[in-house]
């Protein structure tokens, strides 16, 4: 009897072993090691690591650059995510309507996702150049305003958020479109017969039904975007000044250009705490929304 209950465990372990080993060696172990490292002065040019307690963190929290970087990281992540969901929903609604061209639209949605982020960053960096960029020129022709997109603080911040939204909103639309298609047609028809117009039918039927999906992609995108930095690296390099710098890129620079491993490890732990807080809040909210829907 005991052997029988133990065997499936062994078989299962055998099957998950390769993935488990990979994840343990390349994610779990280095994460704990990184947490430990953040309590050390660690720099390969200065000899062995020295335990210094929370000094790395203390120094970080006193630095105004770090504060600015953290603030922009949060702004970038939150603003991008909100815009991506709003615009993604608009695209999904457009493609869910009875337009003939919607199948073309569905294929289009995947293009910004399939273009390498690095390419997107560089295309927008050049496209927004105020003398020879096509996007900047088009903007000036349409609105009459001339803006140095990537040379001033706030225009640069807006540009990078906008570019990020260009890349991700269609991807969000793919998922929201699939969610909208699960809304039963009969209920929408019944609402129409009862005299509800399209807006009313959307806000009282479709929106509540897809809200758990919206919330979970929201959390997913917050978590994923807070640490991603390939767009910042390829588009602005964190500039002008420090105005579009994000924690992930700063941690990368600290580690692999300044070789200040301890400081970088502490910074990535701060980043991780943002992820953890977002994840926990997201899960609590999701539970509440789901219980209301069911």
């Amino acid at each position: 009897m005991r052997r029988l209950s133990r065997q499936p465990f062994l078989v299962a372990m055998l099957l998950i072993a390769p993935a488990l080993l990979l994840r343990s060696v390349t994610a779990a172990w280095p994460f704990f090691n990184n947490a430990w490292l953040s309590l050390h002065r660690s720099n390969p040019t200065l000899g062995p690591d020295v335990y210094i307690g929370f000094d790395n963190y203390r120094r970080l929290f006193r630095s105004t650059t770090f504060q600015e970087t953290t603030e922009f990281t949060i702004l970038y992540t939150v603003a991008s995510t909100i815009l991506e969901i709003a615009i993604g929903l608009a695209i999904a609604l457009l493609l869910n309507s009875a337009l003939r061209a919607r199948s073309i639209g569905r294929a289009m949605n995947l293009i910004p996702w399939a273009v390498p982020v690095v390419v997107t960053g560089i295309a927008f960096r050049f496209g927004l150049d105020s003398s020879f960029g096509l996007f900047s020129d088009l903007f000036t022709r349409v609105t009459g305003f001339q803006v140095d997109w990537l040379l001033d603080r706030w225009p640069a911040r807006m540009s990078i958020i906008f570019t990020n939204v260009w890349r991700n909103a269609p991807f969000v639309a793919v998922i929201l479109l699939a969610a909208l298609q699960t809304v039963p047609e009969e209920i929408l028809e019944a609402a129409k017969i009862d005299g509800a117009n399209a807006v009313k039918a959307f806000t009282s039927i479709s929106l509540p039904l897809i809200s758990p999906v919206m919330l979970s992609i929201g959390v997913f995108f917050l978590i994923w975007q807070v640490s991603s930095f390939d767009l910042v690296l390829s588009m602005t390099g964190g500039g002008p000044g420090n105005s579009t710098q994000v924690l992930g890129y700063q941690a990368y620079l600290d580690a692999f250009q300044s070789l200040n491993f301890g400081r970088s490890a502490a910074m990535s732990m701060v980043l991780l705490s943002l992820v953890a807080v977002t994840g926990l809040l997201g899960m609590m909210l999701l539970r509440r929304v789901e219980s209301r829907v069911n």
């Binding site: 994460f31 399939a114 273009v115 050049f126 020879f132 390829s234 990368y252």
Partner: protein, 279 residues
């Protein structure tokens, strides 16, 4: 009736705007890559270039170690996708079919590791790779990327395998088929579409990946095209000093394959991506 027509016209306008917004940046890279270098950084810019040339591509092949970067990108993307799908398939079978102790814990472990920012793991990994001689090798990069893709792949494959009727493996087991035979001869063929989809998704994601190559690729042996492109940006000076001719041509080389893959497998990819979020 009239109201319907206005809303239809509005819909098409919005649709046109959407198509334009998606295509314009891609169009800008494409025309730049075919514009002669001399007229590339002109002010005001040209929307429809009158002379097209392949010179930028020719220079790209000559001036960069282009062939190495291309080969490395292909090996890296192919290897990572293959590794991720392979280790995830067996794990997904266990999660979908076997009742074992701590199953939910193991599953949660995989999902939790997926939320770890990779920047919070690379310093220890770099030191480890340094000791093992894996820095600047494609194999080392494949291990990292394949591993990073495993959680999502396990998640989606598990939900696909759950859909296959249990009776199929039970009948096979009655006939005396072992686990390996069930996996290879029954489950694998039945989940072929899902496996192919995840392979394609993982291939595109690795092809586009910058972070791991940025940290771990130091020379021609492992550098990918994404890294080559970033290095072009930082190589020359500011603004017009940058080799936009080479950069746009290299960008096209990176974009065209993924856009073709997306066009071919659109339906599959959408199914794979939405599987987790929408039941």
């Amino acid at each position: 009736m009239k109201q319907r027509r206005t809303s239809l016209i509005l819909g098409y306008c919005a649709f046109a705007l959407f198509v334009f917004a998606v295509c314009f940046p891609v169009y800008w890279i494409a025309i730049s890559s075919f514009t002669p270098r001399s007229s590339l950084l002109s002010s005001p810019p040209t929307y429809f270039p009158d002379t097209l040339t392949l010179d930028n591509y020719r220079r790209l092949i000559d001036s960069l170690p282009f062939r190495e970067y291309l080969t490395n990108s292909i090996l890296f993307a192919f290897g990572s996708a293959l590794l991720a799908v392979f280790v995830s398939f067996t794990a997904a079978y266990a999660f979908a079919r076997i009742e074992f102790r701590f199953r939910n814990w193991f599953f949660a472990f995989f999902m939790l590791t997926a939320t770890l920012p990779s920047i919070a793991t690379v310093i220890p990994l770099f030191r480890l790779y340094d000791r093992l001689g894996l820095v600047n090798t494609t194999q080392g990069l494949v291990l990292l990327m394949g591993s990073a893709q495993a959680p999502f792949t396990i998640w989606i494959l598990t939900s696909f395998i759950r859909q296959i009727p249990k009776e199929i493996d039970e009948a096979a087991r009655m006939d005396g088929a072992g686990l390996v035979r069930i996996l290879v001869q029954m489950i694998a063929p039945l989940t072929k579409p899902a496996i192919a989809t995840l392979f394609v998704i993982n291939f595109i994601l690795s092809w586009n990946e910058l972070f791991y190559p940025l940290v771990f690729a130091k020379g021609l042996e492992a550098k990918t095209m994404t890294l080559g492109l970033v290095e072009l940006t930082t190589s020359a000076g500011e603004g017009s000093g940058r080799p936009w001719d080479l950069m746009s041509a290299l960008s096209m080389v990176m974009v065209v394959p993924t856009v073709i893959i997306v066009a071919l497998f659109q339906r599959m990819i959408v199914q794979g991506l939405t599987r987790g979020a929408v039941k």
